[in-house]
């Protein structure tokens, strides 16, 4: 065991893992986190806590992780390199580990122009690839990247994200390999809607044996409506939603589109579960956490395994 997190144990035992995400609130009210977390509890092996996603200021992800942990949910700390230099990143990693967080995800972060503070200075002192390397160095070598010895190494199961649908496509698998080489233990993918393109990506990764070295958790997001699908396709950079997927939900009357979205998501998870090389699923039910149990249970993934 590298970190001994629940997620690591579930994956090591060969179970099909399930993660979800909780976006912290735009304020200091912990009850909002607890309310969302109640929908997550018992349905996942670990729950991501996002880090100021889309560059909109939210409660810090370390605080969100601790609130989840207090409720008995295993947190997964998302950390972007947009807002913190290497000094702050290292410091927050030490703090999160001290507070018992055992999973983390290394990300670049959306550009700050998308948020409420487009005039903010961005940092990008190191990039997400180097953050993976930084965490691994601290965990496995017990030293800071500067070479100074740590008084207690942080313990993290190290994750990274990949977007198989961004351009240029041909470097997407090489990038996964680079992240694996840098020290990633697992990967959560961008929301998958284009299954054909994802299969091409996965086959290529498998040919290089990457699925045996890094646990691949396929990302899914249930669509609430045809409108949401069209919005995401248009507005979210690197989001690939085929017209056939949009048509399938758009063909339903408005009041039945949400149910259709959940049905499609369950179908997709079931298909992913059968694919060799997929170690689990990351369900990003954005502001729709109350549907997690229905989706994960519907896919036959409940109850979650208990691994010692």
């Amino acid at each position: 065991m590298k970190a001994g997190s629940n997620l690591e144990k579930v994956l090591a035992a060969g179970h099909f893992a399930v993660t979800a995400e909780c976006g912290p609130p735009r304020g200091a009210d912990p009850e909002i986190v607890r309310k969302k977390a109640a929908y997550v509890k018992g349905n996942v092996d670990a729950c991501n806590v996002t880090d100021n996603q889309t560059s909109v200021v939210r409660m810090s992800s370390v605080a969100g992780c601790v609130l989840l942990k207090e409720m008995g949910i295993e947190p997964l700390l998302q950390m972007v390199v947009r807002d913190r230099n290497r000094i702050a990143l290292q410091s927050d990693l030490l703090g999160a580990s001290a507070l018992g967080v055992r999973n983390m995800l290394c990300l670049s972060g959306d550009h700050q122009k998308f948020g409420d503070d487009p005039q903010a200075k961005n940092v990008f002192d190191i990039d997400s690839m180097q953050l993976i390397h930084l965490v691994r160095t601290m965990r496995d070598e017990g030293v800071f990247p500067s070479g100074q010895k740590l008084e207690g190494a942080p313990k993290f199961f190290i994750g990274c994200a990949v977007n198989p649908f961004a351009d240029p496509f041909e470097i997407r698998v090489p990038r996964l390999k680079m992240k694996m080489m840098a020290g990633a233990d697992f990967v959560q993918t961008q929301c998958i809607y284009n299954m054909d393109k994802f299969k091409t990506y996965l086959e290529d990764a498998k040919r290089q044996g990457l699925h045996e070295k890094v646990k691949i958790l396929a990302g899914v997001t249930p669509l609430k409506s045809a409108g949401m699908a069209k919005f995401m396709k248009k507005m979210v950079a690197g989001m690939d939603i085929p017209d056939a997927v949009i048509k399938r939900i758009a063909d339903e009357p408005k009041e039945k589109q949400a149910a259709k979205g959940i049905e499609m998501c369950i179908e997709q998870i079931q298909e992913l579960k059968e694919m060799e090389g997929i170690a689990g699923v990351h369900v990003m039910a954005i502001e729709w956490e109350e549907k997690l149990q229905e989706i994960i249970g519907g896919a036959g993934l409940l109850p979650r395994p208990v691994v010692d």
Binding site: H111, F124, D125, Q130, L134, V162, A166, R175, A237, G238
Partner: protein
């Protein structure tokens, strides 16, 4: 070259409002090439100011000058004979030039007439684009001659991020994805090995983060 854009005339009028005798100083260097601070711009700006102040009933006397370079002491020295006859200098050189004037003529208020932009190139007539951030540690030989620090909106050393779509950056369709450009070029050069290598963390201490920089060439002193 160092590029720039003119400040709005309202802002300049507000800056010069307390004065009725000023020097408008251009520079024959970069700002002449990018047509924001050369001799011609000095003339146009001076005429505009005179007209606006005359209309407002507050006449202004302006001496128009254009120095060879405002970033070299020998040329700045040329202003010494007359600068004290004026209340302020409105410079339309880059920020370096304006500051150098301020250092040399400590009792004269210096007013910036342009907003200094970036180290860039003329992509076509009337359009300039950034190419260098002067980070002090060039890696262009590894990145196909395209700078990841400058051309990637996140200055990533292992790009592109997940926001690269059809060759453009997530910050906007007018911004090419720097890493798409790098990859295209590395492929053309058959240097994709450079892409898949893990790069060390960049030392930003050679950039502005190390504090104001200085180059000392002992061989020239």
């Amino acid at each position: 070259m160092i590029t720039g854009t003119p400040k709005p005339i309202e802002e300049i009028l507000e800056m010069v409002d307390p004065y009725d005798r000023i020097v408008v100083a251009g520079c024959y260097g970069c700002v002449t090439v990018c047509r924001v601070g050369g001799e011609k711009e000095v003339q146009v700006l001076s005429s505009t100011l005179r007209l606006a102040r005359e209309t407002a009933g507050k006449k202004i006397t302006i001496k128009e000058v254009c120095l060879e370079r405002q970033c070299d002491p020998e040329y700045i020295e040329q202003m010494r004979s007359y600068v004290h006859d004026y209340q302020a200098v409105l410079s339309i050189a880059c920020g370096a030039g304006i500051q150098f004037l301020a250092e040399k003529y400590t009792t004269t208020p210096l007013l910036p007439g342009i907003n200094t932009g970036f180290l860039g190139v003329t992509e076509r007539q009337g359009e300039w684009a950034e190419r260098c951030q002067g980070c002090g540690d060039c890696v262009l030989h590894l990145t196909g001659g395209i700078c990841p620090v400058t051309r990637c909106a996140k200055s990533l050393f292992h790009g592109p991020c997940g926001g690269s779509v059809q060759g453009h950056c997530e910050v906007g369709k007018d911004t090419p994805c720097g890493w798409q450009l790098i990859i295209d070029r590395l492929k053309a050069l058959d240097q994709m090995d450079n892409y898949t290598k893990l790069k060390p963390y960049k030392g930003w201490n050679t950039s502005r983060d190390g504090g104001p920089r200085r180059i000392v060439r002992e061989d020239m002193i």
